[in-house]
């Protein structure tokens, strides 16, 4: 049974109990270099497999873009 989260500012339904790694796979995010923040704290790469998303979590997935 699915859970609601906020992903990059938008409401989304996700399968329950996903890890961050699974989420990225689920989203088909191939980009080698994204960074993930859950509830305003960074989830470092080494914890992508461990950190489970929970209902109501606020998730940010960011990448580098052009800037000065």
């Amino acid at each position: 049974m699915p859970m609601r989260v906020t992903l990059n500012g938008e409401q989304r339904e996700l399968p329950d109990g996903l890890t961050v790694a699974a989420l990225l796979a689920h989203l088909g995010v191939k980009a080698p270099r994204v960074a993930v923040e859950v509830n305003e704290s960074v989830v470092t790469r080494d914890r992508h497999e461990l950190h489970r998303i929970g209902p109501g979590d606020s998730i940010e997935i960011v990448a580098f873009v052009g800037g000065g």
């Binding site: 990059n8 088909g28 191939k30 980009a31 960074v42 990448a63 580098f64 873009v65 800037g67 000065g68």
Partner: protein
Amino acid sequence: MADTWSIGTHLFTSRLLVGTGKFPSFEVMQRAHLASGAEIVTVAVRRLDLTASGAASLLQWIPKHMTLLPNTAACFTADEAIRTARLGRELGMGDLVKLEVIGDRRTLFPDVVGLVDAARVLVKEGFIVLPYTNDDPVTAQRLEDAGCAAVMPLGAPIGSGLGIRNPYNLRIIMEAAKVPVLVDAGVGTASDAAIAMELGAVAVLMNTAIAEARQPVLMAEAMRDGVAAGRKAFLAGRIPMKLHAAASSPMSGLIAT
């Protein structure tokens, strides 16, 4: 004479830092970066577009020898800037951050109160903080006291191309600073970059002046030369100014009249 400079443990020979925004294309950006001779390049941190499948990544266009300098552009509070810096570190696997805390949408001038607060936090977390600040000597001192690795006062508003509006303040900042002073923002053309270096800046950071020039690659070369020119002139020691003339040819030994 190898005229190098350093931030933390990073050693650099180029004194021009460039950005990655507003270029007509990634191809042009890459050629401009190579023409500029820059070793440090700024990047911004933004939400990944989840709709775009496998969008072209900015990073593959940045030469491997260049050091990434993530910025916190468009952050209006210390808190946003701190979170953005942390995400930038996670993305870039480096501790350098160009810290911006913006105080006003129209001028993009820094909120110096938030800037100093954010700097303190990030320094504690081991970041090498390069703050974008205004040309206020007192704020520059506060940032140095907060442990910033450099201070980066603006020459003029970001993207304005107005050049060095207040060389007096910049000189005062450079006289007092014990950390490198970089001029960030405001440069419009090559002579502006030269002037910044002649004032004693350690380096100059620019984006729009190159990216939005009619010919970005050629302008990048111009900026490379302008920074080099200004640096060498600063080291060479210019002649003093005089109101009147001083002949460069002898006034004697003239033929009879």
